[in-house]
């Protein structure tokens, strides 16, 4: 009884935001104060649930929740293992921080910010939990639909155009996803990830090519989400056009692509997949190196702080993918560390850029000399710290992350290429951030007076500070953190426990309710 009860909590991270969002629309669609209260309470509760589930998953067992008590592989399963629990915790923590930031005024610039925000969380959490490929598609769509709304939050011609491109590119990605789902279902007759992991090795030689096509299409979809070069074009325009809290929340959306690659290609097409084992892995490293190079070039060419932030996301995805491309325990441990680090610092960067640009009047975030900004010492310190984290200098978590990447790739064949690119790109990133920081904080002309000088809200800056502190904590407690990530990587690369939890150790199929 108690075991069943704890397993039921697995679905809570999907239900809570769904109910909250629906409630916000139905009950308080015009009352922004109530929306804020309910929204924050729900986000705090979600963080609590995520912590509880994280603790639950840390014993190493995989828990499967069967929706409607239908036996797998016929019904939908939600699966909680270390990896999904880690992603849930990251999403919930980021969401709460970003929400606090948005309370300072961003949420009033358009309608239904809070409802869309929670729908987005529903999509994210669902994508992290689901154990079924089609269900993954549905949660991707939920996440995307909410993100379309959030992206357009506040409107404006430029945002509409960028939004159109964003929606169009994601519709194409969804189309590819469906084709991949069709191919995989047509060959194997199942879409349950655990079931697929068992059926893929048994595919006959004649069907291998079709299944391979399906898997590569799936990889392509995740690559679009994760902004692999050359599929990254949507990202800088979208992130730079979105409002700051939304862009900060989107920092985890690229990571969903990375998560899906680890999940699908670790569980289904991993070592045990027979003829199709690890077939996309060789594609990841070249794409990763290109992504890092393009991201760095973009950083150097940025004329706005927002472009700087957007391209630093691209560059961080490149570094993250280098670690993923190893696809062994060390590589994934590094990848997870870097994933958490880059989500936190990426989000913090978008928020600090917003804080800076709203103090600069008409100059906004353009890297041109302008009036001095208010609270420059605090903002400057935060910007400096975040830049250190993004670039990968000590003492924040970026340094350890990059060190782990270098260490994990030390024995690979392309070590010189990887090391050269990672180190040179770090230097280039340092230069771009140093240039941006000195223009914004030191190259000042004139005096600022009036309203822009007076703005001094504590909450937004506290939100940024929390993200920086989290990054610092990841650095200080790197030892225990790496142990957790190591255990997560071991579990993610060994699908046996996953398959067992979903398929084998289920209660005997009983007719329900009749």
């Amino acid at each position: 009884m108690t075991a069943g009860f704890t397993t039921d909590w697995v679905i809570a991270p999907a239900i809570l935001p769904a109910m909250t969002a629906a409630l916000l629309i139905v009950a308080w669609r015009r009352d922004i104060q109530m929306q804020r209260i309910v929204s924050v309470i729900s986000a705090v509760a979600l963080l609590g649930i995520a912590l509880f589930l994280f603790d639950l998953a840390s014993d190493g067992t995989v828990r499967a929740y069967r929706v409607g008590a239908w036996p797998a592989p016929f019904g939908i399963v939600l699966v909680l293992d270390r990896l999904s629990a880690l992603m849930l915790l990251l999403a919930a923590g980021l969401a709460l921080t970003v929400l606090v930031y948005a309370l300072a005024g961003w949420d009033k610039r358009g309608r239904h910010f809070h409802a869309l925000f929670h729908f987005q969380l529903l999509g994210l959490n669902g994508a992290f939990l689901t154990g079924d490929i089609f269900n993954l598609f549905v949660f991707f769509e939920v996440m995307l639909i909410a993100s379309y709304g959030l992206m357009l939050h506040g409107a404006g011609a430029r945002r509409l155009r960028a939004g159109f491109q964003y929606v169009a590119i994601n519709l194409v990605a969804s189309t590819l996803f469906l084709i991949a789902v069709g191919l995989i279902y047509g060959i194997t007759g199942t879409l349950n990830m655990a079931d697929l992991a068992q059926k893929v090795p048994q595919v006959t030689a004649g069907n291998e090519a079709l299944l391979k096509t399906g898997a590569i299409l799936l990889f392509l979809v995740f690559a679009i989400k994760a902004a692999f070069v050359p599929l990254h074009w949507w990202l800088p325009a979208t992130y730079a056009a979105a409002s700051a809290p939304v862009a900060a929340l989107f920092a985890i959306m690229t990571k969903v692509g990375a998560y899906a690659i680890i999940r699908i290609f670790g569980t289904i097409f991993g070592d045990g997949a027979g003829a199709l084992a690890n077939m996309v892995i060789p594609w990841i490293l070249p794409a990763a190196l290109l992504t890092l190079a393009v991201g760095t070039i973009g950083l150097l060419a940025s004329r706005r702080l927002l472009d700087l932030a957007a391209f630093s996301i691209v560059a961080s995805m490149g570094t993250l993918l280098i670690a993923i491309s190893l696809f062994d325990v060390d590589g994934l441990t590094t990848a997870l560390y870097y994933l958490v680090h880059s989500t936190l610092t990426g989000a913090a960067l978008f928020l600090i850029v917003d804080l800076i640009s709203e103090r600069r009047g008409e100059t906004l975030d353009w890297l041109v000399p302008a009036n001095p900004i208010s609270q420059a010492p605090i903002l400057g310190t935060l910007f400096f710290l975040i830049a250190l984290g993004v670039v990968g200098l000590p003492p924040l978590s970026g340094f350890i992350g990059k060190l782990m990447v270098l260490d994990a790739t030390y024995e690979t064949r392309h070590v010189w290429l990887i090391w050269a690119l990672v180190l040179v790109s770090s230097l280039m990133m340092t230069i771009s951030f140093a240039r941006a920081g000195s223009v914004v904080f030191w190259k000042i002309d004139g005096r600022t007076t009036g309203a822009t000088w007076a703005t001094a809200a504590i909450a937004p800056m506290a939100a940024v500070a929390v993200l920086v502190t989290a990054s610092a904590a990841l650095s200080v407690f790197a030892g225990p953190a790496v142990e957790v990530f190591h255990a997560t990587a071991v579990q993610a690369l060994d699908p046996a426990g996953y398959i067992d939890a979903v398929l084998t150790s289920q209660p005997a199929a009983q007719p329900t309710g009749q």
Partner: protein, 114 residues
Amino acid sequence: MELLVASAIGLITAVGVYLILQQWTFPIVVGLTLLSYAVNIFLFAAGRLAVNQPPILTGADAYADPLPQALVLTAIVISFGMTALIVVLALRGFLETETDSADIPPDDLKADKR
């Protein structure tokens, strides 16, 4: 029948891809719609092409595969909603910028260049 369905899917996809490569929002929207049609037929075909099969309820040996139908239904709902959204986006964009181009207006990018 296989040839007919396969060539229809191929043709619709080709037209859809051609249209989404255009510069204006209207052909892109039509292209995306065509792509979603092609995908819907494709998903049906994933359950094998079979005519006059009973539903799974009857306990017959051969039955129509219900799962692709469920997938198609979901896909239709989602693509329908998405098409509606992107039409509104294209329309709002057209009304605000007075052009149907899908490009991000360059004026905005350079507005503050000094």
